[in-house]
C-alpha cells in the first residue's frame, strides 16, 4: 500500500470529541459524520482536505472517547492515511480495525510542513517528503496487524477465517 498526497497538519492531543462531537453521534452514517469532521477544531477542514488528504499530526492523536465514529468520519472525509508522532491506543485499534491506514513516525513530523507532498509506503514503513527530498524509515507493523490491514479490516479478517472453515 503506497499513498501519495499533500500534508494537512494539526498539533498534539487531538481528541475524538473534537474530531466528531457528541452532538453528531446520533447516526452511524459515514457521509453524515464526515460533514462534521473536525469542525470544532478547524471550520475549513472539509475544504482543505480536498487538496491535502494526508493528515500529519502530533502526539496522542485520537485520545479520549472510544467512538469509532472518529476514524470513520476521517476516512469518509477523503483522508487517505494518517501519520502521527503517536496515536492514542483506542484510536489506533479502531483505525486498523476499520481499514484506515495509520503510521507512527515520532521524529519526522516536525520536519513536514503543511502542503508538502509526501509518500507513505506501509509495507516498508518508509515515508518520503517529496517536497523537501528527505525520507524516513519507521517500524513496519507486526504480522498480525499487517494481516488485518491487508484484509481491509477486522471484519474481513473474521469473515476470511470463517470461510476457511476455521473457528473464529
Amino acid at each position: 500500500m503506497i499513498f501519495r498526497g499533500r500534508a494537512l497538519k494539526y498539533g498534539d492531543n487531538i481528541d475524538t470529541d473534537v474530531i466528531i462531537p457528541a452532538r453528531y453521534l446520533n447516526t452511524t452514517d459515514p457521509k453524515e459524520l464526515a460533514e462534521h469532521c473536525m469542525e470544532d477544531l478547524d471550520a475549513d477542514f472539509r475544504e482543505k482536505v480536498k487538496e491535502k488528504d494526508i493528515l500529519v499530526v502530533g502526539d496522542n492523536f485520537g485520545c479520549g472517547s472510544s467512538r469509532e465514529h472518529a476514524p470513520i468520519a476521517i476516512k469518509a472525509s477523503g483522508v487517505k492515511c494518517i501519520v502521527a508522532k503517536s496515536f492514542a491506543r483506542i484510536f489506533y485499534r479502531n483505525a486498523i480495525n476499520i481499514g484506515l491506514p495509520i503510521l507512527e513516525l515520532p521524529d519526522a513530523i516536525d520536519e513536514i510542513n503543511e502542503g508538502d507532498e509526501i509518500e507513505v509506503d506501509f509495507e516498508s514503513g518508509i515515508v518520503k517528503n517529496i517536497t523537501s527530498g528527505k525520507s524516513y524509515k519507521t517500524f513496519p507493523y507486526p504480522p498480525l496487524i499487517q494481516e488485518i490491514i491487508n484484509k481491509g479490516g477486522l471484519i474481513e479478517f473474521a469473515k476470511e477465517k470463517l470461510r476457511k472453515g476455521g473457528n473464529l
Binding site: D17, S66, I155
Partner: protein
C-alpha cells in the same frame, strides 16, 4: 521473572504460562459491553460477519445510557437498534430506561464485572473495573463486534507502571484528587499503551467508590487499563453482588515495571483540572477567587455514586444554590437514586435548588439534560474537559471532586469546601 497482576490475568486468558510486554495475543473474554452510541455501530459490523449467534448471551451487556431517555428521533432509532438486537439474540443484560444506569457504575453494582476478569467494552471508561482487580479496557465498535461473535479479542500486552501513594489524605481530598493529581504529574499521554497499577497504603485504605473513580480516569493518562490488587475491601464489595465465580490475582514481588512513581499525598489538597485538558491541574488554594460559573454538574461514571452524592449533600445541606448557577445532579444508577431518596439526600438537593435528572450520561458528553451555551463555564465531577465536551466549543469545563463542585454551586464561583459552613 515475576509478573504483574495485569500480565497474570492476560496470561491466564490467553491460555499461556507467561506473557511479555509487547507481545500480541488473543484473549478469551469474561464480559463485554456496549452502549447506545457504540452498540449500534458494533451491531452493524457484527451483522457483516455472518454468524447466527453471539458467543454467549449471558456475558454481554447492552446499556442505553448515553442519549436516553431518548433525546431526539435519531437517538431513539439508535437505542431501538440496541433493543431489537438484544431481543433477537436473547441478550440477558439489556437494561431498559427506568432500570438502566450509567454503564460503569451499573455493572460493578450488579456484580457483573469481577476480580480476575478479562473485560472489554466499547467505551473508553471501561478501564473503571480495574478497581475490582480485573483487566478491563476500552475498545471500539468493530472490536466489540468481533468479540460478540467470538468471545475473543487481540491485544498487545502492556508494560506496567506502578503508582505508590503514602501518607493519610486530608479532609475533602478524594480518589478524584489522587487521579487528577497523577494525570497532572504524568500528562495526558503519560501512560499511553500502558497499565497503571495503583497501590500503597493510601489505596489500601480507600473505599471502593474512590478506587472506581481512580481507575475510571486511567484512560485520561492514555492508559490501556488501570488496576488495583484485590483486598478485603474488594472482597466485601463483590461477595454479595457477584453473579459468577471470580479469581484473585496479585503482582509478584519481582514483577517488572517500566517505571515506579512514589508520592506522599498527605499534603495533597482538592485539585481542579482547568480547560481544556484533564492534566491541566491546579491546587484549589492557588486559584483565583473570581472564576464565576454558570453550571455545576455532579454525576457521571466518575463521581455519580452514592458516596459522591453523600459528600455533595454534606456541603449543600441547609444552603441555597447561587442565583446565577444551575446545579444539575445525576444519580448514576436507579439503586443509587433510591438510596439517595431513602437517606434524604434528594430532599437536600431539591431544597438547595438543584435539578435532579434520571440516571444517564446526559451532560457529561454534552448530549442532553444540561448542555452548555457559548461562553459558559461549568464545574463538573466528570472526567473530561476537552473543547466542546459539554456543549458549545466555546464553553469551558473545570473538573473537580463532588465537595468542590457542591461548594462552588453555593458560592457561584470555583471555591473550596471549607469556604462553606457545614450544617448539621
Amino acid at each position: 521473572m515475576g509478573m504483574t497482576i495485569t500480565e497474570k490475568i492476560l496470561a491466564a486468558h490467553a491460555n499461556k504460562k507467561e506473557v511479555f510486554p509487547g507481545e500480541l495475543i488473543f484473549v478469551k473474554l469474561d464480559f463485554i459491553l456496549a452502549n447506545d452510541i457504540t452498540g449500534p455501530l458494533a451491531i452493524k459490523e457484527f451483522e457483516k460477519i455472518g454468524v447466527d449467534k453471539v458467543f454467549d448471551n449471558e456475558r454481554i451487556a447492552l446499556i442505553p445510557d448515553h442519549s436516553t431517555p431518548n433525546k431526539d428521533i435519531k437517538s431513539a432509532l439508535q437505542s431501538k437498534i440496541l433493543r431489537d438486537f438484544a431481543k433477537k439474540y436473547n441478550i440477558k443484560f439489556y437494561y431498559e430506561v427506568g432500570r438502566v444506569g450509567i454503564e460503569h457504575a451499573l455493572l460493578p453494582e450488579e456484580g457483573l464485572t469481577l476480580p480476575g476478569d478479562c473485560i472489554i467494552g466499547a467505551d473508553s471508561h471501561t478501564c473503571t473495573y480495574g478497581a475490582l482487580g480485573a483487566f478491563s479496557t476500552g475498545v471500539g465498535s468493530t472490536d466489540l463486534a468481533y468479540a460478540m461473535a467470538t468471545g475473543e479479542i487481540w491485544l498487545k500486552v502492556p508494560e506496567s507502571l506502578k503508582f505508590v501513594y503514602y501518607g493519610k489524605l486530608s479532609q475533602w481530598v478524594t480518589g478524584k484528587d489522587i487521579i487528577l493529581f497523577t494525570i497532572g504529574e504524568i500528562g495526558v499521554d503519560g501512560a499511553r499503551y500502558k497499565a497503571m497499577e495503583f497501590s500503597g497504603e493510601v489505596i489500601k485504605n480507600l473505599p471502593m467508590a474512590d478506587r472506581l473513580t481512580i481507575c475510571n480516569m486511567a484512560i485520561e493518562a492514555g492508559a490501556k487499563n488501570g488496576i488495583i490488587e484485590p483486598d478485603d475491601i474488594t472482597i466485601n464489595y463483590v461477595k454479595e453482588r457477584a453473579k459468577r465465580e471470580y479469581k484473585l490475582y496479585y503482582s509478584d514481588k519481582d514483577a517488572n515495571y517500566k517505571e515506579i512513581y512514589e508520592w506522599d499525598v498527605s499534603r495533597l489538597e482538592p485539585v481542579i483540572a482547568f480547560p481544556h485538558l484533564p492534566s491541566n491541574v491546579k491546587k484549589i488554594s492557588e486559584i483565583s477567587k473570581d472564576i464565576y460559573i454558570d453550571q455545576v454538574y455532579i454525576g457521571s461514571c466518575t463521581n455519580g455514586r452514592i458516596e459522591d452524592l453523600r459528600l455533595a449533600a454534606k456541603i449543600l445541606k441547609g444552603h441555597k444554590v447561587h442565583p446565577d448557577v444551575r446545579l444539575i445532579i445525576t444519580p448514576a444508577t436507579p439503586k443509587t437514586y433510591m438510596q439517595a431518596l431513602k437517606e434524604g439526600l434528594i430532599e437536600i438537593f431539591l431544597e438547595a435548588g438543584a435539578s435532579i435528572t434520571p440516571p444517564s450520561c446526559g451532560p457529561c458528553l454534552g448530549g442532553h439534560l444540561g448542555v452548555l451555551a457559548e461562553g459558559e463555564k461549568a464545574v463538573a465531577t466528570t472526567n473530561r474537559n476537552f473543547v466542546g465536551r459539554m456543549g458549545h466549543p466555546k464553553s469551558e469545563v473545570y473538573l473537580a471532586n463532588p465537595a468542590v463542585a457542591a461548594a462552588s454551586a453555593i458560592l457561584g464561583r470555583i471555591g473550596a469546601p471549607w469556604e462553606v459552613e457545614v450544617k448539621k
